[in-house]
Amino acid sequence: MFELLGIPPQALFGQLLLGLINGAFYAMLSLGLAVIFGMLNVINFTHGAQYMMGAFAAWLMLTILDIPFWVALVLAPLVVGLFGIVLEKVLLKRIYHLDHLYGFLLTFGLALVIEGLFQWKWGSSGAPYPSPIPGGTNLGFMFLPTYRGFVVVAALVICLVTWYGIERTKFGAYLRAATENPTLVRAFGINVPRLITLTYGLGVGLAALAGVLAAPIQQVSALMGVNLVLVVFAVVVIGGMGSIMGSIVTGFGLGLVEGLTKVFYPPASNTVIFVVMAIVLLVKPAGLFGQTK
């Protein structure tokens, strides 16, 4: 087999696959953040906690109720999404008129509460979730576990469906219109507050869906979303929150960049995304796909 700059291809492609998987999660999560921010003007710090809740919901369904992965894939996001709707109705909707900072602080506090409660109940060491599609294929240049391939494809489909839903359907058109000018949309007889609630539920459900997909790859643990959400913030700063497609491309792209860094200069793999963020801020402060506002 050929070698690239002295790197064995197994290592290279293995890390690229890992990067692609991480990128899939960055894309799904930053997408949800962007959609929520567009409608609610709130940066949802609880996103990481809701991702964790998705994974936990699937794990609890499996271990207690014997509900298989494929059912949990639908059920868990619904449950967590409903939880999100309750949060929006009870807390978030009361602070829309305030500065963005308060939404940030409120959701940060909520994340602490949720993650603290899960940690208290189930500890911080993770629980394994069996892979729903065990086995894999030898592609010659690398070994591809089937489930990991599935996650990349599924994430891509989820992202594209979300993009289609927002950019090409009637519901999406209402959503975009209400983001631009809520008062006018209300004058047309559309229930904007309900639209906002639904959007938050959708965004939260998306985070939970990512969590369910992550469960068989990572350990299901109370703190699995803590560091992730911070990386996703950097992804959002890099991509800019103006464009749905931008979030998707940036998410996958940065995952790949991280994977490549792991191959060529491992010590920097944790920090490379933040370095990219610094460079983007220097060159194009509004973000790669952002509009200056």
């Binding site: 940060f108 602490l112 803590v226 933040f274 509004a286």
Partner: protein, 310 residues
């Protein structure tokens, strides 16, 4: 005015006799966090910039202090200087990048940089990784004139450092420079149109705040004799926000009150483990929903309304 002065004198007197009534280490820790919270509040309360990564300055200064004193065997004064200088330099770099975006993005960018510094501190050779720097010897200050082995002696040193930091912030806020900062906070466009280069003012305020946070971090390392990853973590960044918020943003004494409340709470709840986080989170929620002015802010309002009514 006079009422404020009376309260100030009473507080100062209380601070002077405090080590005979309370555990000095606790008081010193609380003073360090109070200074840290004041430094943070200088940015949020008076420039309107929310840094959600202030732990990076606090924590890195602790490491600088530890390295200078432990590995190089130098005097603690130099360690504190190194901590302040290191935090200020880091503040200049991250601040220059972060002020390129506004509002909520600014918070996310500072948070991301702090996370980057956190990962850096896990791997860097001089930080001791997961172990941190432990057993930093307490050397005497002023070239041997001031023994610091006695906690009560050290307490007055820390009190002096705190008062120096607090005084600096007071001077900044009440200077013409501080007036410009407030003008930028209230309406950046207007300040720019009046000819002030808002970005330069913001950057200078950011560096000052970082340096003061560094002063607090280095002093804490001197008191507790260790520097750890906890002090650079995102949780610590959140904690200082909480302290300022509990006490009252934009009030100069608020963050001090908030820091004492939160540190006291942590002291009493140390056994509760994970539940400390839950309680802190719940306090965040309650304050944002109901008491956005914080303790000092709400009390001042109540006092004012009482006086105008009576």
């Amino acid at each position: 005015m006079t009422a404020q002065r009376v309260i100030g004198v009473v507080l100062l007197a209380a601070a002077l006799v405090a080590p005979w009534f309370a555990y000095p280490i606790f008081l010193m820790t609380a003073l360090c966090f109070a200074l840290f919270a004041c430094a943070f509040n200088l940015l949020l309360g008076y420039v309107g910039l929310m840094s959600f990564g202030h732990a990076m300055f606090f924590g890195i200064a602790g490491y600088f202090f530890g390295h200078v004193v432990k590995a190089w065997g130098m005097a603690p004064e130099l360690g504190i200087l190194a901590g302040v200088a290191g935090a200020a330099a880091l503040g200049a770099v991250t601040g220059a990048l972060a002020i390129r975006r506004q509002g909520i993005y600014f918070a996310m960018i500072t948070l991301a940089f702090a996370q980057m510094i956190y990962f850096f501190c896990i791997q860097a050779p001089f930080t001791g990784g997961e172990d941190g720097l432990q057993g930093i010897a307490r050397r005497p200050l002023l070239g041997g004139l001031l023994p610091t082995k006695d906690d009560r002696v050290l307490y007055y040193v820390v009190l002096a450092i705190f008062l120096f930091g607090y005084g600096t912030i007071y001077r900044i806020i009440h200077s013409p420079f501080g007036q410009v900062l407030k003008a930028i906070r209230d309406n950046e466009q207007r300040a720019v149109s009046l000819g002030y280069e808002a970005d330069r003012y913001k950057l200078l305020a950011f560096v000052l705040s970082a340096a003061l946070a560094g002063l607090a971090g280095a002093t804490k390392a001197m008191v507790l004799q260790f520097a750890t990853l906890t002090d650079v973590s995102a949780a610590m960044s959140g904690e200082v926000v909480l302290m300022a918020l509990v006490g009252g943003l934009g009030t100069i004494i608020g963050p001090v009150v908030g820091a004492f409340i939160i540190i006291t709470m942590q002291n009493y709840l140390a056994a509760a483990g994970e539940f400390v986080l839950v309680i802190q989170g719940a306090i965040f929620v309650v304050i944002v929903m109901a008491f956005r002015k914080g303790l000092v802010g709400e009390l001042t309002d109540w006092w004012k309304s009482r006086r105008s009514a009576g």
